[in-house]
Symmetry: C2
Subunit: 223 residues, 2 copies
């Protein structure tokens, strides 16, 4: 895909009263089509785009993948993904702080092909996106090491709703007082047993096991 | 104040339809009382509490100050402030992603004294708090250097509504590709001419000029 031709889609606010029911419908449709939908959430600047890029490079090549980049404004992220050679669309929320199932559907409609995996980069926000079921097969949350090991205690719902946590920017560990054991304990207090992947999306460290987890989830979804 | 006796206030959702009008009323009341109200906003983990603590230590001792720590859950931040010897209350939003004027009022009512300066640490969120006028005299936004220099482009409203931007964690500059000039330009594109203070709340670097700015705003408010 050419970065200059990236589509920008202005999302309309959903009129459906029952987003939870709609999210279940979307999940059913996607399972039937064999499309795994990964919802990536984090605070602003935790490295969502960089992590997605690193993941795309490590995923098995036979997985057909597209990325939806949600942002309040700007189109830099979708261009970054397209420049790496992957299908992507830019979703503009027009100030809205989250995506729901119907907005997911609006975005998917604009993707040009059929995919085994659609990745959504949600709006950077550790609060609101956790409250709205986007209809995803799985939710992934990124916690960047500079944000501190106490975030799972302060933003409990995000960690409860996530199926996988990525701890990003581990290359910056020497300059921050981040206690990996304390973070792991706090995450598991919110969501017992969920997988935690310490990575540096920048250097690529730790991305392989994360890609393996995602690939296995994609194949399990299709079987 | 004793950290063990920190009050926890469960905020009630406001029933007022017109928050903007209510915020103006609150601002008027506070000006009459001579209380400057500073609303501190940022992403989760940008260092709001640490910056507030560093500020408290640098402020002139004749400014009577209290801190309201808003959080979805947990009471660690108010305890941290109280342990440093300052009056503080913990506000629980019960899942809400922002504070508005009426919630500010609910918190102030529980503070034990009269103050020249009340500092609110808003919920960690770079989106929603910008949409709700808390009735503050001035809004301060913290951008942590690890979050990247592109954030003002992606979260425009936060920077438009802020009166002052702190760029925190500058001690981590060697391990991040953060372009201070680019960040300054992006911030001023959103809000021409607003003051920007690069600081390390951890080491104290740059906190003095920030404290001087705040002190001058407090005195200007009372005159």
């Amino acid at each position: 895909m050419n970065a200059d031709t990236v589509k920008i889609i202005d999302l309309k606010e959903s009129i459906l009263a029952d987003n939870d029911a709609d999210a279940e419908v979307l999940r059913g449709e996607l399972r039937k089509k064999g499309t795994f939908y990964l919802n990536v959430m984090s605070s602003p600047g935790s490295g969502k785009t960089t992590t997605i890029l690193a993941l795309l490079k490590e995923l098995p090549k036979d997985i057909r993948v597209a990325v939806m980049e949600a942002d309040i404004d700007s189109d830099v992220d979708a261009k970054t993904i397209a420049a790496a050679g992957f299908d992507s669309v830019q979703l503009h929320t027009g100030g809205m702080c989250h995506l729901d199932a119907d907005m997911s559907r609006q975005g998917m409609r604009e993707l040009p092909g059929d995919y085994d995996l659609v990745i959504l980069e949600n709006v950077g926000n550790l609060v609101c996106p956790a409250e709205f079921d986007a209809g995803a097969s799985k939710n992934l949350c990124i916690l960047a090491l500079p944000e501190g090991d106490d975030k799972p205690l302060k933003y409990p719902l995000m960690f409860e709703k996530s199926d996988c946590v990525v701890i990003n920017k581990i290359d910056a560990a020497p300059v921050f007082d981040f206690d990996m054991e304390k973070a792991t304990e706090a995450i598991h207090k919110r969501h017992a047993g969920i997988p935690i992947f310490p990575v540096s999306a920048k250097t690529g460290e730790g991305v392989e096991p994360l890609a393996a987890w995602l690939a296995s989830e994609v194949w399990a979804w299709k079987s």
